[in-house]
C-alpha cells in the first residue's frame, strides 16, 4: 500500500522518465525513432529466412506466426538485458537523492511497454497489407494479455535490476539466458512441436502461455485458452510479488553498493 501511494505521488517523475527514455533512446542516430520499427523487422527477416526457407517448418504464413510472438518477446527480453542494469545506470541519482527506488523499474517497464505498442502498429500494418484480417470479437482479449505480460516484465525488472547491483556478472549472463529462454518459449516454433507429456512443465514458463495467447488472438483469430491465461496470470503476479520483496530488501543498500 505504501508503495502504491508513493508511486502515485511520484507519477510525474515516472512520466518524465518514460518521456525522456522514449525520446532519448535513439537520440543521435540518423533513423531515430524509426529504429523502434526497424529492429523487430530485421529480426523478423532473419528468423523468417532461417525457419521458413532453410529449416522448413511447414507453418502457413510463418512470418506472421513469428511476428505476433516476436514483438511481445522483445518486450520481455528487455527486462533481462537492458533492464538488468537500469539501477546501475542511475547510480548518480540514487547516491545523491531520495525518491522511491521502485520508480525506476516502473518507468523502464512502462517505456518498454510503449515500445511494444508502437511495434504492434507494424504488426497490424502487416496484417492489413497482407489482407489477413483480424477477428474483431477476440481482439479485446489483447488487453488482459498485455496487462498480464506487463505484470510479469515488471516483476522481472525488479529482480534483475536489484540483484545486478550486488552481482555485476548477471549483466553478462543475461544475454545467454535470454537466448535460452527464447528457445524455451514458443517464439520461433508452435506449441505443436512440444513432445507429448512435456507440455505441463513447458507451461510453467510464464512466457509460454502469454505468447500462445497473443498468437491465438492475432494468428489463429480465436479466444485464448482461459486456463492457460489464468496460469500465466498467477505466475506473473507471483513473479511481481517476489520481485517487490527482493527489490525492497536489496534497495536499502543501493546507495552504498553502487
Amino acid at each position: 500500500m505504501r508503495l502504491i501511494r508513493e508511486l502515485f505521488q511520484y507519477r510525474e517523475m515516472i512520466a518524465s522518465l518514460v518521456r525522456k527514455d522514449l525520446k532519448g533512446r535513439y537520440k543521435g542516430s540518423v533513423l531515430g525513432f524509426l529504429w523502434t520499427f526497424i529492429n523487430p523487422l530485421l529480426q523478423l527477416l532473419v528468423y523468417t529466412m532461417v525457419f521458413s526457407v532453410i529449416l522448413k517448418s511447414g507453418i502457413e504464413n510463418y512470418y506472421l506466426h513469428l511476428f505476433v510472438a516476436l514483438v511481445p518477446w522483445i518486450f520481455f527480453a528487455s527486462s533481462l538485458t537492458t533492464g538488468s542494469h537500469l539501477i546501475l545506470d542511475q547510480k548518480n541519482m540514487i547516491k545523491k537523492i531520495y525518491f522511491p527506488r521502485e520508480v525506476l523499474p516502473v518507468a523502464y517497464t512502462t517505456s518498454s511497454f510503449c515500445n511494444m505498442l508502437f511495434s504492434f502498429v507494424i504488426v497490424f500494418a502487416v496484417i492489413a497489407v497482407m489482407r489477413i484480417g483480424v477477428a474483431w470479437t477476440v481482439l479485446p482479449w489483447l488487453i488482459p494479455v498485455m496487462a498480464i505480460q506487463y505484470i510479469l516484465v515488471l516483476g522481472m525488472n525488479f529482480i534483475t535490476s536489484s540483484v545486478t547491483v550486488y552481482c555485476r556478472d548477471l549483466e553478462h549472463i543475461m544475454g545467454v539466458l535470454s537466448m535460452a529462454w527464447m528457445y524455451l518459449s514458443p517464439v520461433v516454433y508452435g506449441v505443436q512441436f512440444i513432445p507429448q507429456g512435456w507440455e505441463r512443465y513447458y507451461m510453467l514458463n510464464p512466457m509460454a502461455p502469454i505468447i500462445l495467447a497473443y498468437r491465438d488472438i492475432l494468428y489463429y483469430k480465436k479466444m485464448p485458452d482461459l486456463g492457460q491465461l489464468g496460469l500465466a496470470f498467477g505466475l506473473s503476479v507471483s513473479v511481481l510479488l517476489i520481485g517487490i520483496l527482493v527489490f525492497e530488501k536489496l534497495s536499502k543498500r543501493f546507495a552504498e553498493e553502487l
Binding site: 510525474e12 537523492i97 531520495y98
Partner: protein
C-alpha cells in the same frame, strides 16, 4: 507531533579490502571479499519540532553527513528508527537529474518531479522558480550553455520551492555570488518563518547562528553536546582549536601568494609567519567580542634588494564580505625599511567584531603598490559573542532610561 523523530540510530559501512563485484571474485577469493565494519553512528537519538531549525556540527568524518543521508532515506540504518513527518526536500545534491541537452525550463520539470511534485504543482510554481533564479532570459536555452553559477542558481531555486515541510541542507550555502547567497539565506529565513523544519550541516558558524535554534554537535557517531548555538559553538570551536594545535605543522600559518599580484619568482621580501595572539602573547584562533588581539606578521627580506614598503591589511568575513581594510601609507605612517628578519605587530584593542568566522589578508607592497608578498587568508579565526548581537562590529554605546518617577 515532532517533525523528525530519530531513535537510537546505528549505522555501519562496509569497508572492503578489495571490492569485487563480479561472480568470480565473489566465489574464488574469500579473502579479498573480506571487509571491515566501520561504525559511523553509534546510537543517536534526536527529536526536532516542527518549525525548528537545527545545525549539525562536528569534525570531518564524525557522521553528520551520514546522519543527514539517513534522514533523507538515501541510506538505511542498521538499527534504530528515523521518522520524518511531512514532505522532505534535500539540498544535499543540487540539480539531480539535470540533463545538459534539455532547456532550463524542461529541467525544472524533471528535477522537481524527482522531489515528488506532480505536473500541476510544478506548473503553479514555475514562474516563482524562474523569478527566484533570475534566469528568465536563459530559461529556454539548454542547460549545457549555463555557467556553473547559473546551473546552481536554477537548481537551488527548484529545491527551495518544492514546498517541503522538512528541508535538509548540506553545506550548500555557497551558491553563486555574494548577492545571490544573501538572497538564498533570506529565503531560508522566510521558509523557516513559514513553519518549515530545517536541518543544516555546515562549517560556517556565523551562518548557523543566524538561522538555527539549536546546535547538535556530533563526535565519533554520538551526540556530544546539544543546546543553543551560542552555548555550543564556543565549546566546539575551542575543541577544534585544541585539536589543531595538537598537529602544529598544520597550524603554522603559511603565507600564500595571491595570483592577482604578479611578482618575480625571487621576491626580495616574504612573509614567514602570520599569527594572531592574545594579550599574553599566546597564539589563538578564537576569541570573544571585545577581547584585545594582536596580529603578528613575521617576514624575511634581503635588505640590499628590498625597497621601503607599506603594510596593508584586509579583514574579511567568511562570506567574503570585506569588513575592514587599511594600510600604513593611508594612515600616514613612514615607509618601512625592512631588515633581514623582522616582526610587525598590529594591536586591536578592543577587537569588536561580532560572532562569526573571519580572516586577514596581509600585503607587503613597494611604495608604488607593487606587491612583494600578498598572503590571502593568512590567518583565519572565529569570534564568539556572549551577547547575541548582529551585524559586523559592536559599536560603543550606552543606554539610558527615564527614571520611573520623573
Amino acid at each position: 507531533m515532532a517533525a523528525i523523530e530519530i531513535h537510537d540510530l546505528h549505522k555501519k559501512f562496509r569497508v572492503y579490502a578489495d571490492q569485487g563485484h563480479s561472480l568470480k571474485e565473489k566465489l574464488l577469493s574469500k579473502k579479498r571479499r573480506s571487509y571491515e565494519d566501520r561504525w559511523v553512528l553509534n546510537g543517536i537519538s534526536l527529536e526536532v519540532e516542527k518549525g525548528e531549525a537545527i545545525a549539525l556540527v562536528g569534525k570531518n568524518g564524525c557522521g553528520k553527513s551520514t546522519l543527514l543521508k539517513l534522514m533523507s532515506r538515501i541510506l538505511f540504518p542498521e538499527s534504530g528508527t528515523v521518522k520524518l513527518n511531512g514532505r522532505v526536500s534535500s539540498l544535499i545534491e543540487l540539480g539531480a537529474g539535470f540533463h545538459p541537452d534539455m532547456t532550463g525550463r524542461e529541467n525544472i520539470y524533471t528535477n522537481a518531479s524527482i522531489f515528488g511534485l506532480t505536473h500541476k504543482e510544478i506548473d503553479e510554481r514555475l514562474q516563482e522558480i524562474i523569478d527566484f533564479s533570475e534566469m528568465e532570459e536563459f530559461i529556454d536555452n539548454p542547460v549545457r550553455t549555463y555557467s556553473s553559477g547559473m546551473y546552481m542558481r536554477l537548481a537551488f531555486s527548484v529545491a527551495i520551492h518544492v514546498g517541503a515541510d522538512i528541508l535538509l541542507i548540506d553545506e550548500i550555502l555557497a551558491v553563486g555570488d555574494a548577492a545571490f547567497q544573501a538572497k538564498c539565506f533570506e529565503r531560508l529565513m522566510e521558509i523557516k518563518g513559514e513553519g518549515t523544519t530545517i536541518v543544516i550541516v555546515s562549517h560556517s558558524m556565523a551562518q548557523l547562528e543566524r538561522i538555527c535554534d539549536r546546535t547538535v554537535w556530533i563526535d565519533e557517531g554520538k551526540i556530544r553536546m546539544e543546546g543553543a548555538p551560542n552555548e555550543v559553538h564556543p565549546k566546539y570551536l575551542e575543541y577544534m582549536g585544541q585539536r589543531r594545535q595538537l598537529s602544529p605543522k598544520k597550524n603554522v600559518p603559511q603565507s600564500q601568494t595571491a595570483a592577482s599580484d604578479a611578482q618575480p619568482p625571487e621576491t626580495p621580501a616574504k612573509w614567514t609567519g602570520i599569527r594572531l595572539l592574545n594579550e599574553q602573547g599566546e597564539p589563538i584562533e578564537k576569541f570573544a567580542t571585545g577581547d584585545t588581539v594582536i596580529l603578528e606578521l613575521s617576514y624575511r627580506a634581503e635588505p640590499e634588494k628590498a625597497e621601503e614598503v607599506l603594510i596593508g591589511l584586509a579583514l574579511y568575513r567568511a562570506d567574503k564580505a570585506l569588513c575592514y581594510g587599511t594600510n600604513t601609507q593611508r594612515e600616514h605612517l613612514a615607509p618601512i625599511v625592512l631588515k633581514e628578519t623582522g616582526t610587525i605587530r598590529c594591536r586591536f584593542s578592543p577587537m569588536n567584531l561580532v560572532a562569526g568566522t573571519y580572516w586577514f589578508d596581509a600585503a607587503m607592497r613597494r611604495m608604488d603598490m607593487f606587491a612583494y608578498d600578498y598572503a590571502a587568508q593568512a590567518v583565519r579565526f572565529a569570534v564568539y559573542d556572549p551577547i547575541d548581537e548582529t551585524g559586523v562590529t559592536r559599536l560603543d554605546h550606552t543606554w539610558s532610561f527615564d527614571a520611573a518617577d520623573s
